[in-house]
Every structure is written in structure tokens, then in C-alpha cells.
Amino acid sequence: MKIEARSLSYSIRGKLLLSDVSLTVQPGETLALVGPNGSGKSTLMRLLAGLARPSQGEVLLAEKSLARLTRREVAQRTAIVEQQADTAERITARSVVELGRTPWLSALRPWSGEDSQHVENALKTVEMEGFASREWATLSGGERQRLHIARALAQRPGLLLLDEPTNHLDIHHQLSILNCIRNLKVTTVVALHDLNQALMCDRVAVLSGGRLVALGTPQQALAPEMVSGIFGIKARWVEDAEGSEPFLSFHLA
């Protein structure tokens, strides 16, 4: 599903958090969103998900203005995994993933075998099948994060928005989640802190101070001069002896 942001601006209490951001993500593409803390990544995510209304500009989801869709229609097309979503309820892992089916259910369309199948598949994708009956409180940060991703997958969205999904994950699960995201046939926008992980995506958008400062292939958008200026560090390309793809190495300027 194609998503298009048209000159989005967002301000709250007179503070401009996002200014004139335009970008288009093609169907099936994975776009990484990078930038320093407070650069507007989460704000852009919330605008793309329709959780906040832009002060200016608009978001088009498959050529339709987001503002014209109902919440339910948006949720049938878009799933978002936000940072730090927690609960004190004694809810099981499976129930968390089952929440993902909410936009598809109604009084006339109750839970069915198909819904259970989507939940099973989503649990399998994030390698959490064995944890299905565990209570939320007994799970680690990484396990909770994987459940949130499974919940989003169970929503069967055409657009998946992930706000720093690899936070709290060990390196194995970081890589497996990223791999899984890349292999999904859905359009994905993923905010990342690890620039080398962003290299694995189709394209990269770089935000700084609420503005879009670079958008292109990972090699273009994450060019060392760009990264060094924005993050206030020194970056350079490094190649290992085995001749794999080059990656970024950093040190303080």
C-alpha cells in the first residue's frame, strides 16, 4: 500500500515539532527513518498512523486522504508499534496478539477460525508461539516488544509503522525482526537508531530538527558527511576482510 506525506507540519503548544515533510513510500517498500533524539521521528509516525492530525499538509494512504477515512478503515490498512506501550492488566501473550484482530471484528463478524490462524501465524513470525499463555507481567522487555509486533502483524495491515522496534531486543532478535520486516510484502516505515540496521532497508529518510534533510538509497542518505553533521560525530565506511557490504563506523568528533 502506497503512503504519501504532503508537506506535513505539526506543532503543539506553539512548538513546531515537524516542518514541511514530504515523502512517498511505494507499495512493498521498506523505508527507514533515522535522526537524532527529538528530530521528529515519532511525531511523523503518529501523523502517518493518523493518531495525530497534521497542523498543515495531509497524508494520503493508497491515494486516499487519511482525514477522510474512519478510524476503523485506517486500522484495517495501517498498524503501528509505538514505543513503551505497557499495561497493568493480567493479560496473556495470546490476548495481546488477539487485540490485533479488533479492526476486523464487529457484532456481526465475531471471532472465527481465520482470526485464530492470523494470531498463530503472527506469534510464529516473532518466535513467540511457546509464550502464548504467559502473562504480560512475566515477560521481558524484548518479549513484550515482539508481542507488540505480532499484534501489529495480526492486524494484516497494508502499511506497517514501527517506532524503534528493535529497542529492548537482543542482537539475535534484532536481526531476525529486521529480516522478518524486510521479507514482509507490506509497505513498512521503521524508525531506527542503529544506522547500520537502516542500511538494510530499501530507502532511508533522515530527519533533523523536524525537517527532512535526506531521502534516498541507504548509501546516499547515510553518506558519512551527512551522518557526521547531523549527529555531531565522525562516521566513515568500513569494509571487513571478507568483502561483505560496507558498514558505518563512528567515533566522537
Binding site: 503543539i12 503548544r13 503518529r46 498512523a49 493518523g50 493518531l51 495525530a52 474512519t70 478510524r71 476503523r72 478503515e73 485506517v74 486500522a75 484495517q76 495501517t78 498498524a79 503501528i80 509505538e82 506501550a85 505497557d86 499495561t87 497493568a88 492488566e89 493480567r90 493479560i91 490476548s95 495481546v96 487485540l99 490485533g100 479488533t102 479492526p103 471484528l105 457484532a107 456481526l108 463478524r109 465475531p110 502473562e135 507481567a137 492486524q155
Partner: protein, 349 residues
């Protein structure tokens, strides 16, 4: 099985489990009291009144059962169910374990309305206590709703906290007004009477109250039950609910108004009975888990049976004297809840 049939079947199964328990509780409410009356006597009265059976029954017994105990038990059941469901809904919606039906200022407003009519003499004796209480409750709720709306202009994220804070402000204001009116014009007897009413008083309940409380409890139940899945979606907060397709603002408004209205009516009939709306939801959650499609019926049934039981105890525990039902709900409820809390913790380990 078709979709609609599946829903009906679930409902039928639930009703088959719940109805006998409810009927047994109401019958117990009609039998037990200062004069204990046999079950067959209660059934004879019901047969006479409902089917015109013409069985020979002492008219005094018939009067006790039909005019006093039965309406009382029915209203207690409706009230217990409504308060418990309102508690479930508000705890989920506001994501606050301490939320209860009175968090929106309703109990405080009702007491102000009650004392304004009975003590300050508002309406010159033409208004009833219930009328005053109901309007006071709505007034306080209106104040809280407007305040929450004015404070929550920043979006839905902080709205739950704003509602709770607005409710606290509203409750404090109306409690102060109540205290002011009592301090200014009440004599000792009036003050005592109001104190009793504030803790819940079922002694004035008659059939017209049943016709108000029972349909309203059912309607409130219907509205809340319809939103059960939406409430589940609030597990991870309002943003998460919105991203799952829930029209957050609309659901909040509908459910808050529905719970406020049912609570206001219940309070105007029986006074502000504490504890039920706060603790029964937690007790039910321990029994059936947090999913609202099971939690709501469980809370409604537990609340109804609990309040009918509390009313029975309030009538018989001190011979010749009726205790305010709020005292009984807390006296029985607090220790039983302590047991559930401790057990629940052990089970979770």
C-alpha cells in the same frame, strides 16, 4: 454456525448460568428478614400477584413480601449490577484501578442535591430527595465533564488523567458545598439522617423504583456490553485503542455518559453505596480475567448478588434496626477482597 447465531448462543449460555443464581438471590431477599418467611410462601405470593392464583396467604406476609422485600431485592440487584459494570467500564476507559462510578463527581453532587432539598429547603418542600439527588449528580457530572474537556485540549493522550483530576476537583467542590449546607442549617437529627442516606439506604424502595432501576440497569448494561471489545482495545492506552480502529473520543463520551446517567439514577434511589463499583470489578477480574466480554457479565452478576446479600445482612444483623447498606458492603467486602487479593497473588506466582 452463522455469526449472529454464535452471538445469541453465547448470550443464551451466559443467561442460563446467571439467571438461576439471580433468581435464587432475589428469592432469598424476599424470604430472609426479621420475620423469616418460608420459600413456598414466597412462591405462593408470586403466584397470586403474577398469575392471580388466589392461594390463601396471610395478607401481612403478602404485604411484606410483595411491597417491601421483593422491590428491595430487585432494586439492590439492579443497582449492584449497574455500579459494578460502571466500575469495570471506567477502570478500563480511564486506565485507573482506583476508578469507580463516583469518580466523576456523581456521589458528591447527589449529596449536595439531597441536602439542598431536604435541609436548605430548595423547592419549598415540593421536591423529593431523589429529585434533588439526581439533579445534583447531573450538575456535578456536567461540571466535571466541562472541566475535563477544557483541560484536555491537548488531545486524547492525557485525557484520562484530566478526567480523573477534574472528577477529584468536582467531588471536592460539591462535598464542600454539602458540608457548608449541613453546617449552616442542619440540626442533629437532619445531619444523622443525611449521613445514613449518604451511606446507602434501601428502606424507601418501592415498585416504582423497580420500574426505573431495572430497565435502566439493563439499558446501561446493553450499551456497555456492546463496547466490550472496544474496552479491550484500551489495554495499552488510548493511542493503542485508536490504532486498533476504536473511535476513542466517541467511545469515551458514550460510555462515560451512559455510566454517569445510570449511576446518577441509582444514587438518587438508594444513596451512594460505596465499595461495589470499586471492588466488585477487581474481584470479577480475579475470577474470569481481564477480557471484557466475560468480565462484564461476571461483574454484573457478582455485583447484583453481592448487593442483594448485603441488603439482607443490613436488615438482620442488628435485631430491630436497619444498618446503612454501605456499612455492610464495606464490612463484608473489604475482608473478602483482601482474601481475593492475597489468593490472586499466590496464583500468579
Amino acid at each position: 454456525m452463522s455469526a449472529a447465531a454464535a452471538i445469541t448462543w453465547q448470550g443464551v449460555k451466559g443467561a442460563c448460568l446467571a439467571l438461576p443464581v439471580l433468581i435464587a438471590a432475589v428469592l432469598a431477599g424476599a424470604m430472609i428478614g426479621e420475620t423469616a418467611l418460608a420459600p413456598d410462601l414466597v412462591l405462593s405470593v408470586l403466584a397470586n400477584k403474577l398469575a392471580g392464583a388466589g392461594l390463601p396467604v396471610d395478607p401481612i406476609d403478602q404485604g411484606i413480601i410483595w411491597s417491601y422485600r421483593l422491590p428491595r431485592a430487585l432494586v439492590a440487584g439492579a443497582c449492584g449490577a449497574a455500579l459494578a459494570v460502571a466500575g469495570v467500564v471506567l477502570q478500563a476507559l480511564l486506565r485507573n484501578a482506583l476508578a469507580d462510578p463516583y469518580i466523576l463527581g456523581i456521589s458528591a453532587g447527589a449529596s449536595t442535591g439531597a441536602v439542598a432539598v431536604t435541609i436548605a429547603g430548595l423547592g419549598g418542600g415540593a421536591l423529593s430527595l431523589s429529585f434533588g439527588a439526581f439533579n445534583g449528580a447531573l450538575l456535578a457530572f456536567g461540571f466535571v465533564a466541562i472541566l475535563a474537556r477544557a483541560a484536555g485540549a491537548g488531545g486524547s493522550r492525557a485525557a484520562a488523567a484530566q478526567i480523573v483530576l477534574a472528577g477529584i476537583a468536582g467531588s471536592q467542590l460539591f462535598n464542600a458545598l454539602t458540608a457548608f449546607i449541613i453546617a449552616k442549617s442542619a440540626n442533629a437529627d437532619q445531619a444523622r439522617g443525611i449521613m445514613f442516606w449518604l451511606m446507602g439506604n434501601m428502606s424507601g424502595v418501592r415498585w416504582p423504583d423497580v420500574w426505573l432501576a431495572v430497565p435502566l440497569a439493563l439499558a446501561g448494561w446493553g450499551v456497555c456490553r456492546f463496547h466490550a471489545r472496544a474496552l479491550d482495545a484500551f489495554t495499552f492506552g488510548t493511542d493503542s485503542a485508536a490504532s486498533l480502529g476504536i473511535p476513542v473520543r466517541q467511545v469515551q463520551v458514550v460510555l462515560i455518559f451512559a455510566t454517569a446517567l445510570t449511576t446518577a439514577v441509582m444514587v438518587s434511589i438508594v444513596g451512594s453505596i460505596g465499595f461495589v463499583g470499586l471492588v466488585i470489578p477487581h474481584a470479577a477480574r480475579f475470577l474470569v480475567g481481564p477480557g471484557h466480554r466475560r468480565l462484564m457479565p461476571a461483574a454484573a452478576l457478582t455485583g447484583a448478588v453481592f448487593l442483594i446479600g448485603a441488603d439482607i445482612v443490613s436488615r438482620i444483623i442488628i435485631p430491630g434496626q436497619v444498618l446503612p447498606i454501605g456499612v455492610v458492603t464495606a464490612l463484608i467486602g473489604a475482608p473478602s477482597f483482601a482474601v481475593i487479593l492475597v489468593r490472586g497473588r499466590r496464583a500468579a506466582r
